[in-house]
Structures are given as C-alpha cells and as structure tokens.
Symmetry: C2
Subunit: 465 residues, 2 copies
Amino acid sequence: MGAGAGILERLRETLGSDVAIDPSTLDLTRHLKDYGTTDDQPDACILAVVLARTTDQVSAALKLCSEASVAVVPQGGMSGLAGGGAPIGPCVVLSVERMRAIETLDEAGQTITVEGGVVLETIQKAAAERGFFFPLDVGARGSAQAAGLAATNAGGNRVLRYGMMRDLILGLEVVLMDGTVITALNTMIKNNAGYDLKQLFIGSEGTLGVITRLVLRLHPAPAATCTGLAACADYAAVLDLLDQCRRGFGSGLSAFECMWADFYSLGCEPCGRTPPLAHGHGFYVLIETQGADPGGEVARFEAVIGAALEAGVVQDAVVASSQRETAALWAIRDTPGDYSRVFDPAVHFDVSLPVGRIGVFAEECRRRLEARWPGVAAVFFGHVADSNLHIGVRLEAGRIVTRDVKDLVYGCIGDLGGSISAEHGIGIDKRDYLHHSRSPQEIALMRRLKAALDPAELLNPGKVL
Amino acid sequence: MGAGAGILERLRETLGSDVAIDPSTLDLTRHLKDYGTTDDQPDACILAVVLARTTDQVSAALKLCSEASVAVVPQGGMSGLAGGGAPIGPCVVLSVERMRAIETLDEAGQTITVEGGVVLETIQKAAAERGFFFPLDVGARGSAQAAGLAATNAGGNRVLRYGMMRDLILGLEVVLMDGTVITALNTMIKNNAGYDLKQLFIGSEGTLGVITRLVLRLHPAPAATCTGLAACADYAAVLDLLDQCRRGFGSGLSAFECMWADFYSLGCEPCGRTPPLAHGHGFYVLIETQGADPGGEVARFEAVIGAALEAGVVQDAVVASSQRETAALWAIRDTPGDYSRVFDPAVHFDVSLPVGRIGVFAEECRRRLEARWPGVAAVFFGHVADSNLHIGVRLEAGRIVTRDVKDLVYGCIGDLGGSISAEHGIGIDKRDYLHHSRSPQEIALMRRLKAALDPAELLNPGKVL
C-alpha cells in the first residue's frame, strides 16, 4: 500500500461522499490533463476527487492530506495551457468549481467579490449588468475560473490598458497546505498594512496555496471603441507606430496586436477570409482604443492613424466602420482558433522580450529554425506593446518534433534575454526550461518560499519548480 | 561587549573606511529617525554606517553582519513617515544613497533602470528629458530614493491613474540578509516564468531584503492637463460626482482629492489664501484629468463638470484657466505643508477604507473624538477615489495626547473594516496597531515569510511585525 492508502475513506468520513468522490465512479478525462497540453502523465493516479462547496471543506481536505502525506493537485477550468493542473503520481484532485457565488458588487469601490469557482464570463456579465466592465478576457472565458485565472496570473488581449489578472486583484482568500485559512479580502486600492500576502499566490500556479475567494477590481464600461488595421514595412516602423499610438491615445490605447506577414497570410485566404489590406507588407497591426467620449473617439482615432500614414510610418490602413468590420479584423488576429484546420500539428509558444528587441528575436529565431529544418513553417504574432510574442511552428513526423523545437526556441529566448512564459505560466510544460529565464539564485529563492509554505512538497508537486 | 563588538573593524577590513564609516566621525542626526516620526528610539546605538557604492558591497556588508549576528537597518531618504528607517538597539545602518546611476532608458519598452539611491526627482527629470513621464510623485520628491519608495510601496497623488510604486516596478535587484544577490531585473510587462519574487520585497519596508537596483515603468508625457474644484453638499454627492468623473473621463481621471469643509477652511484664510469657492459647502473636490488630446481636453472637462452642476450633484465649481490658477487650487490641497504654522502640534493619520464607507467613517471618527475631547480640532481630506483618507487631530498638552488619539482612531478603523496604513506603511509607529487591520493568520504568515528569508531576525528588526 502506498502513501495514499485510505485517504479516500478519511476524506469521505469528514466531507461526505458527495464532496470527496470515489474516482472509480467518475469519468476522469477532464481531470487528467489541461486543454492543449501535449502529454499525459503516465504515472498519474487520482485517489479522490474533492469538489468542495466551502472554504472550510477545502481546509479540511488539505489538512487531512497533509497529515496523510498525500499530494494535492488543485484544478480550475483546465485551460491554462501549461499543464499546471495535470495530476502527477498518486494524488487527490481538489476543485472549487462548485464555489460559484458572486458575493457582492460594490459600485462606489468598483469591486466585485466572488468565490473561486466563478467562471470568467459570469464575472464579465455580472459587471456589465450593473454598468461596469471586468476587462480581463481570454479565449477560455466560458470555462476559466476566477481562482485559476489568479493562480496563473492570466493575461489576454487587454493587458496593455488594464493590466494582467494580478493588477485586477485587490484581495484573496487562500488555504495553505496545512489547512490554515488566510482571509485577506482587501477591498482598498491603497493598503500598506504589512506584507501584501496575496502577491505570493498570484501566478504561483497552485503550488503555495489554494485560492477560494477573490476581490476583483472593476472599471466603468468604456463608452466608445475604435478598431483599425495598419500595415508597416518593418519592425522599426511598428515601433514608430506604437510610439505614436501611445502618445496620441494615451491610456485609451487598449490593443496593439502585431502580426508578421506569415501569420497574416495564414489568417486570410486559408481561413476563408478576404484580406482587409493587401498582402506584401511586412507587418500588420490591429489597433484598438477605448475611450470615455463617444463624440470624439473616431475623429481622434482617424487623426492619429492619418498622421502615421502621412509620416510614412504606416503604408496602408483601414478603420472599421461597423461591428461587422471590427469582427472581421479581430477574426484574423484570432486565427489560432482555426489552427486545428490550417496549422496542425504544431507547437505553440508564449514568450516575452523587451518590446524593442522582439523584431530582432523573431528574425534570429526564424533564422535558427530555417537553418535546422529548411522549409519549416513558422508564424509570429503578439501583443507586442505588452512585450508578448506568440510563435507557432509546424511539426513534421520524424523530422520536426516538439522537444527539438522547444529546445531551439527557448534556447533562443535565453540567448536574447527574454522570458519563456509571458502569460501561460510554467506548469509542467516549461519546467525544464525555467533556467533560461531565471537565475539559480532566483530559483533557489522560489524553493525557499515553497519550503516555507509547503515543506513536505505536497501541493501541486512537480509544477513550476 | 555586546553582539556588535568588532563589527566596525570587520566591515572596514572588507569595505574600506570610506564605505564602512565610524559613527563617531559623523553627525548621526539624519540617521537616527525618520522625518515626521514622533519619538526617538532611546536604545538606538549605531555601530557603523555603511554607505555602499555597489551591490557587491551591500552583499558583503550583510554577509558580515549575518555572520556576526548584528542587526542591519536599511535607510533611504528617511521620509517614510512611519519610522521604518529608524535604528533600534545596537545595529549597522546601511544606505545605497551613493548608488545613484541611471543605467538605461529604453524608449520602446518604456522602462528606466536605476540604482536604488537615485532620488525621485532625478528619475522624473531623466524621464521628462526623453519625452516620458514617471508618474509617481510625493512631497519628498527631492529626498526620497528609488529603493525606499519601493520598500515602502509609496503612493501619492496620481495613484488613481497610474497606480502605486508597486504598479510602476517591473524588476528589482535585492540582497538578502545572508548576502545572496537576487538579480531579477525584468523589463517585460508580461512575465509569468515562476514566482514573481519582486512582489515580496515591495512594501515590506526593508525587513526581507535590501533593494539595490530597479526597473521602472514610464508613461508618455500627458499632452493636456485640466484642473478644477467642485463643491458638494454631502458625501453621497461626492460619490455621485466620482461616478460621473470615472465614466466621463475614463482612465483620463488623474486626481480626485476630497476635502472636508474643516480642512478647506484651514487651507484658505489661515494660510493666507483667497477661497476659490465660497465657504459653507460640505465638501470640496479637486479634480484633475490628463489626456492625450490637447484640442479636446478642456471641452470634455467642462462638459462633464457642467453636467454634474446641472444635475445638482455639484453646487458650485471653478475650472482653472491658467498655470497660476491651477497652482492656487493645488495649494489648498497641499495645506499639510503649512501645518507647522497653522495646525501644530498635531497627530496625522494615513488610513484607508472602502470608498463608499469613508463618509460614514469620518462622521463616526469625529463623533468619537468629540465625545472624548469636546472642542477637539480635527481635519479630514484624502485621495478618496483610491480609498485613502488623511486625518489630522490637534494635540493639547495634558488633555489630548498622541497615544490616546491613535488608540481612538485606529480602533475606529478596526471597527469599520479599514486599514491602518494606506500608503505610509507600518514601520515602528503603527506596529502595535497592525492587528486592527490584519488577522492573526495573516500576521502568522508574514512571520513565516520573515523566518524563511531572515531566520535570525537581523534585517530591520522591530519594524512592521
């Protein structure tokens, strides 16, 4: 009998069989791996699935597992893309998906307090119903849960203006592996009373504690949105355009999505779309602004883009004049949603680099890929104003395999001083490459923090570190 | 001989007598207490003053003190207002004030990399010279140093739009008490490669590590600024006005400074100023917007304030039409700079509460003060959109003393669910009151982190915890 012998029974005694569920009675598919991760963990063995309804139940489950030295894997919507929720070895799976109450919405404070299992789309809708805006948005909005978004410090399309999940969290309730409940549901923008403990748990991918409740920041709903597409000759021109947009729109600039020509080409005809701007330019940039003044927004948008055209920074441009045209521009940017049809099998990357160095990195990375695999298909696009680049590289059975591509791309990131993870986290998938972006001293300090909070390494073992 | 015997000699051997300075050769006044803190620490005994020129020297000093079990007190500009830099007991004082290089300014990335001793005003000027804007601003801009601003997570007037110091830091270099140098000079907005270690050190007031270098975020210089003053009848109207400003200006709203009538009265005639709006209203709000469009900014400002006037939310208003008028409005808000002439002796508070509850808190706090000390003089003002309230209470020898006022105000904060420190931190001054704002579990977790990073409790002992 291994370490987990009897844990199901002990959990059921305390929590009941409706909360501590016998895995043999469940279809475990959705608990075995994250959406989009490549490999199953061959040694995964789920001893129990705990679907908690309260923070106290989370605490009781963690305490029992601590005492029995059984590993616990916290799971959210399983859309993290890095394998952070995948079970490894014998373990108890713990989810707060049943904790989905929206507790309060404070209009004066512009905050919403939610349980950890509330799905992103539900938060967005609850805010909108009261005239507010929860700006975080990712493709998995229908499945990603608040606790998981916090644990992975999710990003998305609107980071440029509103920040990442970290910037939208004011307070957290977290349960440590020993069962201690830390209720730090701060609702104030300014609060310097001691260490800001929540920061430790945001982005640590469930390795330091389990998030059960959150206080999130809301913004007023934007009154006007403008969208356009601009073509530039080279990355230097993209940087000039970015500077003009930052100065011309100030904090109204809400998206600056840069597509290299190869990505743009893939997103047009192969996906059945008419190109809104002709092929042949080096770069295509989707620009969005969100403003408070419906009267002035369009004129301002056209003035700034017009000036960039006149200055020769932009070679051609189109401004969307309807909801349909706006959607058509975003559809090209959202080509990754069509990858299964037009770019499969492939391996995908989420990396970051200093904004000014992204163009050079893309050239160097492409050069190394081509030198290694002549004719390789690779596409580049990203939220470059946020320093974030996404890369897709097509695999070819027997010639171009995942591991080799990862080694090459992450090696290139390390050489050029970038980060191997911009927004998806480390999970299992990038763990072996962490040293490309973090020094031995940094990794040692992470381990010191892990040891302080979870000395027996029972919480989400094998992830990040 | 105590714990510190011989430490000066050991430091001098390694660092030289120019860096490890014999305290008997110095005027120690500026090292003995923070500006504005009330009490000297009677047992303070400075064994050496280390004025490091490099990170390696900081590391060597901390390592030697660790080995000798001697406490180290990191000091910045000594303008933290909470006693965080004051020596307690026998200790070595450590400053990075000689580390004042501006290393790089990256225009595309909108970052500036500086050494920890660079003074705030120098950073602001270096940014402005290149067409950028470093938005953090506090009264002590001529003395506050980058490392200290980070260690205390400084706030100030523009938090509403640009965030606190934490929101303006992308990367840090920190030295731990054992001498380990953690160089985490991230320059990317998005970087989810492992734990975000810098967060631990920001706002921990020098108790977990010594900050030596920083990567800070810059913004484009705003093209247009508008300033006005509006009078409201009551706090409910202030909240309505805030809602209209948030929706009308969006992210352009850069200041919303609320002054209760008592504060406004003190700031006008007693300070030799003509009131820009008549006395007799309940509240006066200084509103500032910063926009990217010089052509549209004033019209937009007047339209939003005009609508609030028409709706009866605002009773009277004035919009500054010159630099001189703008300065005159801010002068009233900056009355605390005149306190030594018009409101002295007094005890001052920096607290926070949920925005919607600040009005009720002010009433309740005033009621308790008046019940205890009939006729007491108290003034209220604050960055209320940031949840931040400042209170001044006049002392009277023999009748109204600091300790009793603190007990009353912090007790009231605890009862109404606020924080005893919005932006100034805990230091020595608020340490005994921390339990009003943080739970035993939170404080225990802070201690656990402290033990993980500084097990012998040698770094800035007696602060925060």
